[in-house]
């Protein structure tokens, strides 16, 4: 019997805190257990040290490296050509694999994701004033904000959407202050999009009586007064597919799009603090999106 293949996960922050990495790591671990891989992970891997980390893992004989952030894309594209025997997989967003035979990506359709958030916020807001708070103004975040605005306008063109950035993905205190300010300006629904710093936004909503959502996994228990619903990434499914494809040796030069239709993610139910009508309205839109009846790029 051969030794089980080694796989490794790469995380920007830590697998013990926040929402994105914690939930992602859970998916990664479950996959490794299910497939019987010999798994390890690296956390706090800055984009600076990513090429070194990737090279080290690959030359150590790690057979598959899963990078849990779109920021690793450049590093993978740089390192992958030198290590044809290692499969590199990215989870989050990727536009192109550059034809690399050992690079695959599970790419979330963040446009659709944003659109749905806009729809649900605009549907739930009583004041017609919602706010989106991002971490740093990276292109993907800006793009998501655009689609949140589209989603809100889809429900009600008169809705005001304010946007702001914390300037950090981890500064809870700043995030909370910004959120508090936005609520004071009249926003009654806050969309957090700042990773670890989301906690501050959710706290502000909780304390000031506004609504918000949980990110990537069900967070209603943490902020019971404020969380209307949570986006729930289906990491189990995505990572499960990655593991299976690796074992089946079908990985390489492919991009799998994760969206509502692929069950890549969903919203937790039932919605809290709002009428059932809101929930029904949002899921009606979701169904239309799944069915491809809404053109996001019009």
């Amino acid at each position: 019997q051969d030794a089980p293949p080694r796989v490794a996960g790469l995380f920007t922050q830590t697998v013990t805190q926040g929402s994105w990495d914690v939930a992602g790591y859970a998916g990664f671990k479950a996959m490794a257990e299910a497939q019987g891989f010999n798994a390890s992970y690296l956390e706090h891997v800055t984009y600076e040290s990513a090429p070194a980390a990737l090279r080290q893992l690959a030359s150590d004989g790690v057979a598959m490296i899963i990078a849990h952030s779109s920021g690793y894309s450049a590093a993978i594209k740089e390192v992958a050509p030198s290590f044809p025997d290692t499969q590199f997989v990215l989870y989050s967003y990727e536009g192109s694999t550059d034809g690399l035979k050992n690079y695959s990506a599970w790419s979330v359709d963040w446009d659709e994701y944003g659109f749905v958030l806009g729809v649900l916020a605009a549907s739930a807001s009583k004041s017609g004033h919602i706010a989106v708070i991002g971490g740093e103004p990276i292109p993907s975040a800006e793009r998501t904000m655009e689609f949140i605005k589209k989603g809100a306008a889809y429900v009600d063109p008169a809705v005001t959407v304010e946007t702001a950035y914390v300037g950090s993905f981890s500064d809870v205190a700043r995030a909370k202050e910004i959120a508090t300010g936005l609520i004071a300006r009249g926003a009654d629904f806050l969309i957090p999009s700042a990773d670890t710093a989301d906690a501050g936004i959710q706290q502000a909503a909780d304390e000031e009586g506004a609504l918000t959502i949980g990110s990537y996994s069900d967070q209603s228990a943490a902020y019971p007064n404020a969380v209307m619903t949570s986006t729930v990434m289906n990491f189990a499914k995505s990572y499960g597919e990655i593991g299976a494809e690796f074992t089946a040796k079908t990985l390489g030069d492919k991009i799998v799009t994760e969206n509502l239709a692929s069950s890549g993610w969903t919203l937790s139910q039932p919605f809290q603090h709002v009428d059932a009508a809101v929930e029904a309205k949002v899921f009606a839109v979701i169904d239309e999106l799944k069915a491809g009846k809404i053109d996001l790029y019009k």
Binding site: S170, D171, V172, E177, R185, E207, P224
Partner: protein, 313 residues
């Protein structure tokens, strides 16, 4: 935007909230620097205070106890740091840099080992908001300065007490003497090292309270790795900028807090200035102010020098 009273009050209040953790730490730094101890490890002390307060909150469930425990954590960490910088005469800069690195790792490890991932629940109102009777009802200032965390009132009281202590008390005289000329203080028969240890631990108390405030009051009890994110270094700059005068420390910190709050206003107003440039603004303003001040009063002459009895200078 309409510059009505409410907006201005909210803006001032945000400035206060944003500056509070840094102001507390800067008050501590001012004291240790007055005594000749350069506490570069302030960032690490704040982190230890923050993690201790989070642990305290998890254990006791009481935000007030959390603040106390955080303060104690900062003091304990400062004691260890001062064993190096004061008693062992380690180079204060090097020690501080090493301590900050260690603190990032150690506090993260503590979080992983002790704190669960679940964010704390329960109300933190007792420490986040305390309306002062009568004063809180004043227009504008009531909302800005008298509907704040009790920690803010405490900070103001501490600043005034420190001012009086440094200016009028024997303790203040001795403290300043140790920073200006440790050898002379020693020759006067006063215990230089214990005084410096005391000052350094007091810095830990303030930095610990600052870190605890950041975690409990400003971040709702959530400890995040490296959550100080440079605030300790900023506090050092504020202490020096304010020429180690406690009341001035509060004012300088408040102005920086306002500048930070102004960034948010800018964002809300959709001012087309990139976020990073807005974030740099307080530092640019501080730099310009520093240049304008120019040759400011001299630093304590023995700042940063380990005390060696009988040293040839």
């Amino acid at each position: 935007m309409d510059f009505d009273a409410v907006t201005i009050a909210l803006f001032l209040a945000a400035g206060v909230r944003l500056c509070l953790p840094v102001a507390l730490a800067a008050l501590g730094e001012a004291v240790s620097e007055r005594a000749g101890v350069f506490t570069i490890g302030l960032e690490g002390l704040m982190l230890f205070g923050a993690v201790a307060s989070a642990v305290g909150l998890a254990m006791t469930g009481s935000p007030l106890m959390a603040l106390v425990i955080g303060t104690g954590g900062g003091a304990a960490a400062a004691f260890v740091l001062a064993l190096g910088t004061v008693l062992a005469r380690a180079n204060q800069i090097v020690m501080g840099i090493g301590f900050n690195l260690l603190a990032i790792g150690a506090t993260s490890l503590i979080r992983q080992l002790v704190l669960t991932n679940a964010p704390p629940t329960g109300s933190l109102r007792t420490v986040t908001m305390m309306k002062l009777p009568w004063l809180a009802d004043l227009p504008v200032v009531g909302r800005a300065f008298f509907s704040q965390s009790p920690v803010f009132y405490l900070a103001v009281v501490i600043a005034v007490l420190l001012w009086a202590m440094l200016r009028y008390s024997r303790l203040g005289l001795v403290l300043r003497a140790v920073g200006e000329n440790a050898a002379a203080t020693d020759a006067a028969g006063l215990p230089v090292l214990p005084i410096r240890m005391g000052a350094a631990v007091f810095t830990g108390v303030m930095a610990g309270l600052g870190g605890a405030t950041l975690c409990i009051v400003a971040s709702g009890g959530t400890f995040v790795d490296n959550m100080t994110a440079g605030r300790g270094y900023l506090a050092i700059a504020i202490a020096i900028f304010a020429r180690w005068k406690p009341v001035r420390v509060m004012l300088v910190a408040f102005v920086l807090g306002l500048l930070e709050a102004l960034q948010f206003q800018g964002q809300y107003l959709g001012i087309q200035i990139a976020t990073p440039l807005l974030m740099a603004a307080p530092f640019v303003v501080a730099l310009i102010a520093w240049i304008a001040i120019g040759r400011a009063g001299a630093a304590p002459a023995d700042l940063g020098r380990p005390f060696l009895r009988g040293e040839l200078r």
